[in-house]
Symmetry: C2
């Protein structure tokens, strides 16, 4: 039985994190947090009536079967927006104006095609819905001009369609969550190796549609790099792509649907490269004297090898927080920086890479901190639960990420961190800004920022100001507006700056071809 996520926050309510009293002290002392700001109770939250017309209900229900068209308040609430802090702030305070009018649960590719046809005829906007874990407003379509909005929840498309052990690929339907896909593969001895922080709730289709990147991307690659085939249902019909891992047959159209965030079509099958499940998994911490030293070490490993499977590095502030030494906040590099190097593979492979990387890291002055690796592993999916607790406690807590080439990383780090600190300080809420390198490539890396501050009376406006400053700083510093969260609606304007007017026009032309009525996730990705 699939556990629905909490309507007002992240994940499984049974896993909710409680903040210890020492964190409460920290919030008051370091951030000036005052009173708790709890969410409304479910009973206090009201939804407007569904705007779905009877004729549409009949036609859509005839496609899915009536039991798979849901208009009850709980279903609609659970499909309202995603899980960004702005999404949560709004839903916690009872703002449900964005609730879809209905939730459709198709059972096949053909049903998806047929639903899109009906929705096109009836001017109904369609929000493809996988895990509902978007943190960039990817589930918040523009409603103007549409008779209704429906969420297209793909959870019933949950099969492993094929495991090709010779080619080492697996073809999945889109609705499987990370652990379900891994379980099906694990029974046969394989893994995708894709473990983003959203792993427990995000889906195969979402990983593809939003170009997800997992914590072990150094070793396994990003999800988009592992996708070799896609089937897409569009309002115009089916697109099947991927006759080979790589080809010179024109532009790679798979790369047009990867990252399309449901705006061009609904991904109904994903063929992805798999690997034998690793018998050995080891994660270790390494301490560096400074962030700069750590950056140099990560760059050396990813460029010259040996390459760990997991490779991450926290800056001084994040290290201090992770090590529960809040007194080091802002104390320069007193506590140094903590990196994580993980190895997954056969015993022989892990030993060779681990020994080789250890030699490099020691040569560069790093010190092993084995326990920190285990601690990272235990907490690797817990961040979003902590955020919920912080929101309850009266704090803002949000993350954002960007990426650029190694030569621009220092500038990007300073500039985005500076923009966040300056904006929130100017608003009277000096923040804590933490950062880590979450993903590395031979030519560049990502920066993942976490921001904490006391909530002002209008926390939404407060965060929007900070986020806008960060977005501007990213574009000005030459970075990409997102590394793995996606564009959604939150990043749409800065995405347009990133690819330029002709880039936007090109994507609009693609959308107009595949979705001529513009019913698919209107306003997401492009305007």
């Amino acid at each position: 039985m699939r556990t629905d996520m909490l309507w007002s926050g992240w994940g499984d309510p049974a896993e909710a994190t409680a903040l210890g009293p020492e964190v409460g002290d920290l919030l008051r002392e370091a951030l000036g947090v005052k009173a708790p700001t709890p969410a409304l109770s479910r009973e206090e939250v009201r939804l407007a009536d569904s705007r779905l017309e009877d004729s549409a209900r009949e036609r859509l229900g005839a496609v899915t079967g009536e039991e798979h068209l849901r208009e009850d308040a709980d279903s609609r609430l659970l499909h309202t927006r995603g899980k960004s802090m702005p999404d949560l702030l709004r839903i916690r305070s009872g703002q449900t104006d964005d609730a879809p009018d209905a939730v459709l649960l198709p059972g096949s590719h053909e049903e998806v095609l047929e639903l899109l046809r009906v929705c096109g005829e009836d001017r109904i906007a369609v929000v493809p819905f996988g895990g509902g874990t978007s943190v960039v407003g990817g589930l918040e379509p523009r409603r103007a001009g549409f008779a209704a909005v429906v969420a297209l929840d793909l959870r019933r498309l949950d099969r492993l369609l094929e495991l090709d052990e010779v080619s080492r690929t697996a073809t999945f339907e889109p609705g499987l969550r990370g652990p379900d896909a891994e379980r099906l593969l694990g029974e046969r001895g394989y893994t995708i190796g894709h473990h983003p922080q959203s792993f427990l709730f995000a889906t195969i289709g979402g990983f593809a549609a939003a170009r997800s990147s997992g914590q072990a991307s150094a070793g396994y690659g990003r999800f988009d790099e592992r996708v070799v085939g896609l089937r897409i249902a569009t309002p115009r019909g089916t697109v099947d792509l991927g006759r080979a891992p790589k080809s010179a047959a024109g532009p790679d159209l798979r790369q047009l649907f990867l990252g399309s965030e449901g705006a061009f079509g609904v991904i109904t099958a994903v063929r992805v490269e798999v690997r034998p499940a690793p018998p050995v998994c080891i994660y270790e911490g390494w301490r560096f004297a400074s962030f700069a030293d750590g950056v140099a070490a990560l760059r050396r490993l990813i460029q010259d090898g040996p390459v760990p499977t997991v490779l991450r590095l926290s800056d001084e502030a994040e290290t201090a927080l992770n090590l529960a030494r809040p007194q080091d906040f802002g104390a320069g590099n007193a506590g140094g920086c903590l990196g994580i190097a993980g190895y997954e593979g056969t015993e022989e492979d892990v030993e060779a890479r681990r020994d080789g990387a250890a030699d490099v890291l020691r040569e560069l002055g790093a010190e092993l901190d084995a326990e920190a690796g285990e601690s990272w592993e235990r907490g690797r999916y817990k961040g979003p639960y902590l955020r919920d607790a912080l929101l309850d406690a009266g704090a803002l807590a949000e993350t954002l990420e960007t990426t650029t080439f190694w030569s621009g990383l220092d500038g990007l780090y300073a500039s985005v961190g500076g923009a966040l600190r300056e904006t929130l300080t100017r608003l009277g809420t000096p923040p804590v800004v933490l950062c880590h390198i979450s993903h590395v490539y031979p030519s560049g890396a990502s920066l993942y920022f976490t921001v904490g501050a006391a909530q002002l009376e209008d926390p939404l406006a407060q965060w929007r100001a900070a986020k806008a400053a960060a977005n501007d700083a990213i574009i000005a510093a030459g970075g990409s507006i997102t590394h793995h969260h996606g564009v959604g609606t939150d990043h749409r304007e800065h995405f347009a700056q990133e690819i330029g007017d002709l880039g936007v026009e090109t994507l609009r032309a693609v959308k107009a071809t595949l979705d001529p009525d513009g019913i698919l996730n209107p306003g997401v990705l492009i305007g």
Copy 2:
């Protein structure tokens, strides 16, 4: 000084290959080749007058400078079509109807933009021209509806714009040939590591525009995988892409221009990942009892490692020819199959991978044949010269390639080889069909076929029949119509079958956005 390629064949005339008398015997005995079929002499070849109007000549010359607009017969002849066997058969017999009316040599991105603007106004079709090495009709635009056709030769855009040693990327203008780009990098200690058979003459821009794949792709990746940034001049203006190696900012638009073959814009800068030039390069041969054994070994190495830098495998027939044992043709697996494993890197890295791979290969029954590796290295760029000699001698000689997933490789191999043999045998010219695996991926591989047969009176029609049968077989067997040669005009119809009607419509929409007058390589890639 840049050496122009021979007008009637491949490469530097000084490097032309002469066939030994034993090959002449072989051609007569094995293929039934009769009389030599030499090319016309240069003096016998005539070109129609340029159709460029005076006003257009004046406007275009004003952009480039008059000396960079060429209408002399030699310049036009050197830009007529590419280097496929059909291209050569036609030009060798004096068919010059496809000669461009003029050759333009812009000196900057801005000049390219301005030329496109003028050509749009004057309805002049533009063929972007790098090395002129297309073997798929990529330089043969549809002329109907255009006042004239010009070749846009990018050779003057020949600078290394930036070497970013921290990010390990180099930004090149498009007109540099392989050896020139490698020389500029080599002076600084770096390499791209991209060495397709066309390396000596093909250009950086062409590598990107046609998704080139080098002989060392197992170690360095394909060229398209190494490209992290692109600047493109389109008739509508400039597109700049690539703020990071990878990003979740929407569809990856770089992947729309990679493989666009000049139909969407002219690539004027390419940022590509580089590596330290390897101090050690070793290439070794390995003998397998059968092609099936060799395929299993290549798959094992690319899936489980260690991964050599170069990894190739000839089938029994190609092995027999390579080893100059023509008596083995068609004798089943008497001579077995020869694979090549190469290693480039530091001494330590090469030793580790070489020893590890040798263990795997021996375990799988392969035997080392060190000399065969050196022999492969000596001949790695020579195939096209040999083809010219064979065409002179009265033979057909051509190559084609395809790719699919490992599980489909046997079927694709049998089906394409079968189609070639059946068609040419039916025409009365039983062929020799050779094949090798030229590129490997964890989930699939490419198949590169070489075909030799006696020329019939109309060798063009003869080859077209064989090629059409091979193309149909590729699509029917689920393969991609090309692995690294590209689409051009020759593969356009089968490319459309590969991506489907909606895929084609999508690409047409992209083209209509960026090239509304349709002047860029009309008819190439999409109809």
